[in-house]
């Protein structure tokens, strides 16, 4: 790890100004919980001249519900906070589950929602200094790709690493970006970009901008959700895939709205639109879930070593749909 300068930011504006000074020769990076930043620095992927600590900024670590019943999560809210917040648990169960299944208890106590969304891919080619500057995507396609994508792999076989992002896509969350120039919000699915080792980040975040808040829209009464992360190990593991389902049924038990989001299978968490269409307007039973799950994976194009992930994903989608319907 290289030597670097450390600055505790006292406000979003100050942090924004400092980050705007970043140049190729003197990179300035932001650090929240520091979980991924530390890993990336140890591997030499990040070699900042200056690290701006965001944790000293007040007011970004709260969870609030506004008058319209939207839920606002400060970017410095930890995964542990999310997984134990009564409001999140009650109304946004898929997000609480995603947060509680990420990493380890120690990491969840420190890792922030903002940092989690902005972490880099867990691809073992990207993370090994040997491949820095090489065509990582091509190395993956030719090599050990058992944990990589099965959709849109021609775009990139790398997958976005955040698992809370899968739930946020299903809830149609928006993120707030702030800088000295002001604030704006953007849909989570537009914010997350296909991983590109050649870029500094895998999100639509301009230099000098800071992710300050995540907002989940109010949910209609009766909305049900479920989340499953499928790993090889339970104790601590990156997923083979994760699935979030948010649905609402009418009094006749027919599905009136549904969102199914799939993580770790495509460059960014993707909506399973074919599956959603199959379920919309119908009752959810074992057979419907089976058909929907099959449709969701029908367009998968696995790589040389990860065809098994298609089967795993199909099973997990089916199970998560049924979970959501029985909540």
């Amino acid at each position: 790890m290289n030597s670097f300068e450390w600055i505790d930011a006292s406000s979003v504006d100050e942090a924004s100004r400092l980050l705007a000074e970043s140049t190729h020769d003197r990179p300035v990076i932001a650090k929240a919980g520091g979980m991924d930043v530390l890993d990336l620095m140890k591997e030499g992927i990040l070699r900042p001249a200056r690290v701006v600590n965001l944790r000293t900024i007040q007011g970004l670590d709260g969870i609030q519900t506004d008058a319209s019943r939207s839920l606002h999560l400060g970017a410095l809210v930890t995964l542990a906070q999310i997984s134990s917040d009564p409001n999140v648990l009650k109304h946004y169960g898929a997000l609480a589950a995603a947060a509680s299944h990420a990493a380890t208890p120690q990491v969840r106590n420190v890792a922030t929602l903002g940092g989690n969304l902005l972490q880099r891919p867990r691809c073992w080619y990207f993370r090994h200094e040997h491949f820095s500057g090489e065509d990582v995507a091509e190395a993956v396609r030719q090599g050990e790709n058992q944990y990589h994508g099965i959709f849109a792999t021609e775009q990139t076989p790398l997958v976005h690493a955040s698992t809370p992002a899968t739930a946020l896509v299903a809830y149609d969350a928006r993120v707030q970006l702030s800088s000295v120039r002001g604030q704006h919000t953007v849909a989570i699915s537009d914010f997350l970009l296909p991983p590109d080792p050649g870029r500094d980040r895998d999100a639509a975040l301009q230099q000098g901008e800071i992710l300050t808040q995540v907002t989940l829209p109010a949910l209609a009464d009766g909305t049900q959700s479920a989340y499953r992360k499928q790993t090889e190990r339970d104790s601590y593991d990156w997923p083979l895939c994760d699935v979030a389902v948010v649905l609402r049924r009418g009094s006749d038990a027919r599905v009136e709205s549904i969102a199914i989001a799939l993580g770790w299978v495509a460059p960014t968490p993707m909506r399973a639109t074919e599956a959603e269409a199959i379920l919309l307007g119908h009752r959810v039973d074992e057979e419907a879930a089976r058909r929907a799950a099959r449709a969701a994976v029908s367009k998968a194009k696995p790589l040389s070593r990860n065809a098994y992930k298609v089967d795993v994903l199909e099973a997990v989608i089916r199970r998560t749909i049924l979970d959501a319907a029985t909540r």
Partner: protein, 793 residues
């Protein structure tokens, strides 16, 4: 055996609680009287917490990583960034100009790899050929670890690349790039290992090493059922908590090495050999070692670098490997392909076993699959044929049950398959074929039945009994390992005038509890408590102790310790008897007291009153009363073995391919258990490591570059707390009448059967064989899609 100082003595033999009888052995006359069974002893055989438990959990225990010396520098490796190349030039000038750097050294010899029989042109090269990515090339010593790493990145190496191959399958092909230009040898190091000498080598294939008895073709002709399959096992890396490392302190008159090691004396001997030193001038210290599974022997390339750098910089150098180097450069369990065919009669009698196996230990030879195929079961016709396959990958090293773990995975599944085909219960089948006249076979018979009863084997359901996607099953497999006694083991016991009892051995404690077991045996003789013995270990200046490898510490050290303590106690009795008004032979050491027929005194009080100067007794490990079957290098092999039987209950999610091991029952023998608590602890560790091997661990190499992609503990997956099954351990106490303690080992057999037991449970659960390790979702789903077993005779 013709030793005139020996005489016939009646000793107990058999399994406590099963059948004990007296047998006559020729025993040296000055041996202590045999101990009775553990239930009649005061300290030995009693569960006793390790003496250093508090030190360890409070962070007081000092490992090599914690050594701090005045003026100490930090070492760092310069490693190859290519998988196969000749080195044209190395420019260290920029690194040398780094302000923190105090010394730079380029290696002229690489340890651990196979070496060319005829070095030929390579002998003329200035630098060793690079044969795997990550191979150590040079070392830097600097004032901080960071400065050393920075300087390492400034070393410029010009390579002349050579074609490379990293997979066993591809390296087997006749047109594969050759890792070595000619035939090789893998000499045994101070820590053992090595490969059979003088074998043929064609391309990357070295071998075959063969072992034949009887007529296998006739055996298969006589068979009424035949099973034949190809099994595959993966590369597993050792991942001890503490990485390999040495602190070298070179002085003009002495070299001191602080080492994280499994064998202090191998560190000394390799340093002596490589640096041409006087053994008396090299001291190796290993107060605590943070784990070792077979790969921590000798000084290694890092140790050679540490010593060179310390000599050049005239300062101590700490050289600890980082986690990536630990995975890549200092050992692994070889991957194997095993083509195994077994024939049997309808009653289960084995008629033929034929094995053709391949193993790759990267740039090291010695990737065999153990001896189980020819030694576990009675069979007259056996033929084994093994090839080592070189690849451009880091060298293999001994790894907890080397070879045998891989071999048992295949063999015990084949036996399970025969049982299934014949409709014989797997335990009943083993009762019929595990019949060799050796102690381990007798132990396993008891273990099978005690285990079956405790496990509830009779509740085992038919194959593939669950209708839903989650299927449960149970399986069992047997473990077999060698009973080894180290050749040169000695120890010293001192009784000081203030009543302190000290014991000395150069043996190290890698976490198994050697210090505690050593103290227990001595405490027993003096009637003291374990914690009252000042047991000193881990210093090469102490009397020679055994290596912590081959499951031989307790079998080698405890008889020597007991004998020395026994003699010291006898000598002490002579001094104390007058105080007690009795004869020396009437003095009894018990419960912290010395007792005569009419009087007793406290142990320390008696020593002080007797005004004893220091009593010193040394003793060597007396050879086993029955002798040995053979001697190999520094160890002696009994004709008897050690082993166990393990039972596993698993669940298989047939939709996701995720396997969970829910329960393991492990029944093991280790001769006389000296400290059942520590033995159980070792067995827990063996089972956990076995589950980890069976389900998760696998080195992933990128074929195009030769990079190990998961050389960390994030993506190199190891069993965690949630994957640890409920483990029950049951020990049997087996008296073999072989030594003054009758202790044998347990470390390796605890790890040998687990993967096979899980694989057999997988068959019971699903009706499919899992032929490829580890049981990842990818491998499991592939196995579940294979054609149905039952139609495939």
């Amino acid at each position: 055996m013709s030793d005139p100082a020996s005489s016939d003595r009646s000793v107990q033999y058999g399994i406590v609680g099963d059948a004990l009888r007296d047998v006559v052995r020729k025993v040296p006359q000055d041996e202590p009287p045999p101990w009775p069974a553990n239930d009649q002893l005061a300290v030995v055989g009693k569960p006793t917490p390790r003496l250093d438990a508090r030190q360890k959990v409070t962070g007081q225990a000092l490992y090599t990583f914690d050594v701090q010396l005045d003026g100490m520098l930090f070492g760092c490796t310069v490693s190859s960034t290519v998988a196969h190349a000749r080195i044209r030039s190395i420019d260290t000038s920029k690194a040398e100009r780094h302000p923190g750097v105090r010394a730079v050294h380029i290696l002229d010899r690489v340890l651990m790899t196979a070496s060319l029989r005829d070095p030929g042109d390579e002998a003329k090269q200035r630098y060793p050929t690079v044969r795997y990515l990550g191979q150590p090339i040079a070392g830097i010593a600097a004032t901080s670890a960071r400065a050393a790493r920075e300087a390492a990145s400034l070393v410029q190496i010009e390579y002349e690349p050579l074609p490379h191959v990293v997979s066993l399958e591809e390296a087997r092909q006749p047109d594969a790039p050759m890792i070595f230009p000619g035939p090789t040898e893998q000499p045994a190091t101070a820590g053992g290992g090595g490969a059979q000498k003088g074998l043929d080598q064609k391309g990357n294939l070295r071998g075959p090493a063969t072992n034949t008895r009887g007529n296998v073709d006739q055996g298969f002709a006589d068979a009424e059922v035949v099973v034949e399959r190809e099994y595959r096992t993966q590369v597993q890396t050792h991942v001890p908590m503490e990485t390999h490392g040495i602190v070298a302190d070179w002085r003009d008159d002495e070299l001191t090495l602080y080492a994280s090691t499994q064998f202090t004396l191998s560190v000394r001997d390799e340093a002596v050999e490589i640096f041409g030193l006087d053994p008396a001038k090299v001291r190796v210290l290993s107060e605590f070692t943070g784990g070792g599974f077979g790969a921590k022997y000798g000084i290694g390339n890092y140790g050679a670098l540490a010593i060179h750098l310390s000599r050049k910089a005239r300062a101590p150098v700490r050289f600890m490997l980082d986690r990536r180097e630990e995975h890549v450069t200092v050992g692994n369990r070889p991957a194997t392909v095993q083509q195994l065919k077994i024939g049997a009669k309808r009653d289960g009698t084995l008629t033929a076993v034929r094995l053709r196996s391949f193993g790759t230990g990267g740039v090291a030879a010695g990737a065999g699959v153990g001896s189980c195929h020819s030694t576990l079961y009675a069979c007259s016709n056996v033929s084994t044929e093994h090839y080592d396959v070189f690849t451009n990958a880091g060298p293999a090293a001994a790894f907890r049950g080397p070879g045998q773990v891989q071999g048992i995975f295949a063999l015990e599944q084949a036996i399970d398959e025969i049982a299934d085909k014949l409709g014989i219960d797997p335990i009943e089948l083993r009762d019929r074929i595990d019949t060799r006249d050796v102690d381990d076979s007798k132990a396993r018979k008891v273990e099978r039945h005690r285990g079956a009863q405790r496990f509830g084997w009779e509740k085992r359901r038919p194959t593939n009994a669950d209708a839903g996607p989650i299927k449960r099953g149970v399986g069992m497999a047997q473990s077999q390992w060698y009973y080894i006694v180290h050749k040169d083991t000695e120890c010293e016991v001192r009784v000081l005038g203030d009543g302190t009892v000290q014991a000395f051995s150069s043996a190290q404690d890698i976490g198994t509890g050697t210090r505690t077991v050593f103290a227990q045996v001595i405490a027993e003789e003096f009637g003291l408590r374990t914690e009252e013995i000042d047991a000193r270990i881990g210093d090469s200046r102490y009397p020679a102790g055994p290596p912590s490898g081959g499951s031989r510490v307790t079998s080698s050290l405890t008889p020597a310790a007991r004998n020395a303590a026994y003699r010291a106690a006898q000598e002490l009795a002579k001094h104390i008897a007058p105080l007690l008004g009795c004869k020396p032979g009437e003095v009894v050491f018990s419960g912290g007291k010395v007792e005569g027929p009419t009087r007793s005194m406290g142990f320390r009080e008696a020593i002080r009153e007797a005004r004893i100067d220091t009593i010193v007794q040394r003793s060597r490990r007396v050879p086993d009363y029955e002798g040995y079957a053979r001697t190999a290098g520094d160890f002696q092999l009994s004709r008897h073995g050690i082993g166990g039987v393990q039972f596993a209950q698993i669940s298989v999610d047939t939709e996701t391919g995720v396997v969970k091991v829910e329960r393991v029952l492990a029944v093991h023998d280790c001769g006389r258990p000296i400290n059942p608590q520590l033995v159980e602890s070792q067995i827990y560790g063996g089972v956990i490591q076995g589950v980890s091997y069976a389900l998760y661990e696998e080195r992933h190499l990128d074929g195009a570059s030769g990079v190990q992609l998961n050389a960390n503990i994030d993506q190199y997956k190891i069993v965690g707390s949630r994957e640890t099954p409920a483990i029950e351990v049951h020990l049997i106490e087996q008296l073999g009448g072989q030594s003054s303690t009758d202790a044998r080992g347990v470390a390796e057999p605890a790890n040998v059967a687990t993967a096979a037991a899980i694989a057999n449970a997988f068959f019971n659960a699903t009706g499919k064989r899992i032929l490829t390790l580890p049981l990842t979702p990818a491998n499991v789903l592939a196995a579940l899609r294979a054609p149905d077993e039952r139609g495939n005779a």
